[in-house]
Symmetry: C2
Subunit: 503 residues, 2 copies
Amino acid sequence: MKYSPEFSVQWLQFMVMVLLISFTGTVSGWFNIPRLSPTRGTIIENPDLQSFAPVSDDLRTFYYPQTLDHFNYQPQSYATFQQRYVMNFKHWGGANGSAPILAYLGAEALIDNDLAIIGFLNDNAIHFNATLVYIEHRYYGKSIPFGSSEEAFKNASTMGYFTSAQAIEDYAEIIMHIKKKLRAFYSPVIVIGGSYGRMLASWLRLKYPHVALGALASSAPILYFNKITPSGAYVSVITKDFREASETCYQTIRSSWSIIDKIASRSNGLSTLSSKFKTCKTLQDSSELKNELENMYAEAAQYNHPPRYPVNMICGAIDGTNEKKDILGKIFAGVAAYRGNRSCYINQPTNVSEADVAWSWQICSEMVMPIGIGKNTMFQADPFDLNSYTKECMRSYGVPPRPHWVTSHYGGHDIKLILQIFGSNIIFSNGLRDPYSRGGVLENISDSILAVHTVEGSHCLDILREKESDPEWLVKQREMEVKIIKERIAHYHADLKASLIKQ
Amino acid sequence: MKYSPEFSVQWLQFMVMVLLISFTGTVSGWFNIPRLSPTRGTIIENPDLQSFAPVSDDLRTFYYPQTLDHFNYQPQSYATFQQRYVMNFKHWGGANGSAPILAYLGAEALIDNDLAIIGFLNDNAIHFNATLVYIEHRYYGKSIPFGSSEEAFKNASTMGYFTSAQAIEDYAEIIMHIKKKLRAFYSPVIVIGGSYGRMLASWLRLKYPHVALGALASSAPILYFNKITPSGAYVSVITKDFREASETCYQTIRSSWSIIDKIASRSNGLSTLSSKFKTCKTLQDSSELKNELENMYAEAAQYNHPPRYPVNMICGAIDGTNEKKDILGKIFAGVAAYRGNRSCYINQPTNVSEADVAWSWQICSEMVMPIGIGKNTMFQADPFDLNSYTKECMRSYGVPPRPHWVTSHYGGHDIKLILQIFGSNIIFSNGLRDPYSRGGVLENISDSILAVHTVEGSHCLDILREKESDPEWLVKQREMEVKIIKERIAHYHADLKASLIKQ
């Protein structure tokens, strides 16, 4: 379909509709969590990131003609789209020595972001003599089927191919293609991903052991599906993080919700709240404010990185105001500290990215993480409600989610019992301050399916670029990961040698 | 679509077209092999089978509303069809003791056949206190999507969902459904399949370790894809089987082809051949005769079961005729011995089953085993030609095969190097007289991925019903398989106990 102004309007309407349900948290029982992603927001929004430049100057971009539908044989299944991947050969030890390939599996974002922030591959290429590849996920960035985003996101018929199983098969095919092109048939491949991408990495190792020798899967909440992990776990970690930072801060936040409700129930209450929080537009409903606050606390906990430590920053501001009884004033101080100097704070006009729209589809199809708010947290209770979730997804896309798919297809229940005699070479790394860590694998499963976690760590921290200011525990976590991967590669090279001698 | 006489004619035409390419062997370089199947032909055709009765009287039939398309989220993906499965609870030890479930994965036939011939489950249920389930493969028997075979086999759009990956996911879902229904969450499941079904069994264990604890995968030519096994291996085993049975028989067969060609090239030659071989219709081309002979030799080798031993039977007849110089007379004696007393032998009107039509689709989509005839066999050389294979498939279905799919998705290359550190609990059993055995796993891969084979065995013999007349080596092979499965289940029960205590 050619681009046309009419269509663009439809497209915008569609995006707005999608975002209404997935990002404003108006659905009852749908906790307004930040997207699973290695970093908060885009590079531009995020002051933690050192620069916008890619991790290396030695990157080369390629496109692979990817099959639209790997699993069926209908005429339309054979359609292809250009899938982007980026390589870095600088430290490559060559096919003859079966030097390793480190493959980053793109997640729910365009790959450019990752090229700027994911440091693990570039920082370690030299230690492994590895070639690097970063592969973009289908339906993100420049890897869009059907010729355009407008077509690709038109309806469930075109979005229907946008699934994790198709994406993992994409990755497997591109990795095999690269090995063939480089004639590196015996080069071990280590797949690395962030968050959703790390789920993909662990699943790729489990489903395609002939493609990946091992996986570094950190902050992968593969157990946050189908009731394996209690629904309230995510929010209970946020609560713990804030409480550990400051008991008074936690108490302040906890008591703020009923005050907001009380003011909102008064005539002119919404206008009082709007002025108190310097909202960009007057609030139409107190949920607009509450959702943004919830989201801020969640984001701060999830990305509670050094050296900024946003949880401490928010609590510092909340605790720091002199006016002891002005609870909402304290909360606003937290918002202002977190967001920085702005003309207004809440209800900002949102820049909706294509990636946001795309992720909305993913959580409405298979990535159904039933995150709700239980009792005894710093939030008002709001349990997850699958019925209303399903209804909203149906309303947006016309097809229902499949909340059991992830555990049916990839497993998860009784993971230790299953995997202690099956599979190998996976590192599940986590930072325990990351609310998603509670859906991760936190204990060793076997002698090569290992859990590496840090008490102080946050979401995906270990695969970000190394910095001078990194704390000791983070440096050690990365060293441990590198050591394990090196050992597994050495084992593989020994096995390979033995097998070639035998031939 | 309602049944209509017009449609029925189209349907018949379609079936004939399919069979023309896939069963008459007119495609150059496409060796006319028998279908991958636990037994030769249907029960009615096969005198080896003791009776037509099911293995047990304690069978109960169920239907599961199966999802048409597990891997995509288009509106039509959510359609369901009734998938048949049959259970036997007679010897079940119950959910409380986590007694095992033996699950037979139907292959390219309706499940009724298997209920009559697959004895392994019923013969061993009592030793395992197991409940039994036999699941029919989608698009076979009564497990047909789209309401009718006419609709299901209409074109590539409706047949497009007819793939191994969809079928394995079907099995996984039904097994999980049964465990839930029986509240047998911790019952270990052993999946068992025959031939193509055994490939599915090993792949199910590898892809869904959370569904199946182990697999008995015998006569599974999982390595007969994408050049892992030499193209001519199948035919070289047929040759070896006949040569071992009788050197003179082998020589007679070997020399017969050029004699057929020579006679066929004469005027009236086809009529001479027709009368010599008592054909049911006059031959239009010598390939009709040659294809039927090739197919007979292959079938005899593949199903060279005791006590009949068809290879010996054919060779006995070939060697037994007195007229030493009448090569074709000898060959005809072999045909007559193998086929039994009939009014005519070659070019019989064929009874084409729906399963034959269905399997034709499977070999034209993903089950591309590149079997050709090399030099130094008892046949005329006829190498496999992927181009003409692809063309013929395109002509029949309008979509090309994906010859790399099986190895991309399931693996196979360097299987020992890959699986010695990955996966567990698979028995690959084979009989080395089975031509497919050369595409099987013939050596132990690890301490729980094991190869169990017999020198004298043929295709899928070990999972057929036990008989009084079974030779010692067959009895021992089955005992070994049962012993291994018992050990693995005992290990699992110990692990389970430890894990429950820990909780």
